[in-house]
Subunit: 215 residues, 2 copies
Amino acid sequence: MDKKKTSKGKKIPKATIIRLPVYLHYLTELAQKGISVVPSHDLAELAGGNGPQLRKDLSYLGEFGTRGVGYNVGRLAHHISKFMGLNKEQSVAIIGVGKLGMALINYKGFAEKGFKICAGFDNNSQMIGKKVDDLVIYDVRDLGKIIKEKDIEICIITVPASEAQSIADKLISCGIKAILNFAPIFLKVPDDVVACQIDLSIELQILSFYRTLLK
Amino acid sequence: MDKKKTSKGKKIPKATIIRLPVYLHYLTELAQKGISVVPSHDLAELAGGNGPQLRKDLSYLGEFGTRGVGYNVGRLAHHISKFMGLNKEQSVAIIGVGKLGMALINYKGFAEKGFKICAGFDNNSQMIGKKVDDLVIYDVRDLGKIIKEKDIEICIITVPASEAQSIADKLISCGIKAILNFAPIFLKVPDDVVACQIDLSIELQILSFYRTLLK
DNA sequence: ATATGTGAAAGCATTCACAGCT
DNA sequence: AGCTGTGAATGCTTTCACATAT
């Protein structure tokens, strides 16, 4: 996958991309508090980074600060949002309405960030046709039809590990290009599809290891 | 935080630490299938990496392979497990039994990897004293007492963002050194505590950005 | 033949220091 | 004076090539 280039033709580090949404989050929070200007050091501290790194990160997008003053909160938020393509609502579906899928359907944070969950899918006939928090649960066999109808761009997989790869394959054949996978397996996807993995047990194992290092 | 050293005194890269649990996962799977030897390339492919990288990763722990043959699945799994301190059961508590907390309590994957969820906590009097899937829900006010009683080493925070930092502070004052946080804020913790952040909206934003790069 | 283990090289990311604005 | 923007330097990580072992 090619990296996005700045206006000056430079590549933007992956590490920077990962931090941008965090900056955006705190900028939105500052704006809600009525704060309109923030220096790099203060914003970086909120986001768990440091001033020089934040400035370097932002420098890839352009020059948005004012020397001697700081960054205009609204203006910077707008630029990050636009750069990342987050300035329009995106439709999301959740495949697998077990406990975790259910929890994600109810999660308020997605809507706040512009992600509209607009379909749930399951293969359990007990679930199909039911509503969870105003959201209709469809049969996985109707994936293709509903994805087209509702213009779904991102899918979240919360099915058991044994079914995850075949669900991913089906999503890809339906034209889905972005998958967030909670099943504990590494999904094989073609180069023109992005898949992101969240494996809760592995996170705990890493955390546990770092804890043992402390003593 | 100091990095763990190999027997030869070299530091182990953080990037390697993150991959080790993935290798371990697939080694366990191979063992269950009755496969007892695996070459670096095959294991790496399952884990989403490549052979040379896997070999370099493992070289930090020692020499566990056989040239011309590959790695003994059981032996390697045992060594990774021991190295990471994952060869004994660890007790985990979940703070905040909303939909997400509930889903995590029910998540089977934790037990498979040796993490025993042995308490839930909430501040909602409706929940306190109830059982969720055989697990008792305690009052957050009893955090200190129960953490000691049940020898809890790792806590998972699934409370709203506004309460997450104060819960973290309380956990730290109870002696907890490892926190997995699902609330969308960056937790401030002292140097002798490790905190790991999973922000679902941010993951979606990163994924969404990479999708826009494809076209 | 085949696959590991590992220096050396190349590729990324972070930190630093300071010039350049306000 | 104060804070941004950025080349240069430092520190990490990945990739490569091949000596080494079965």
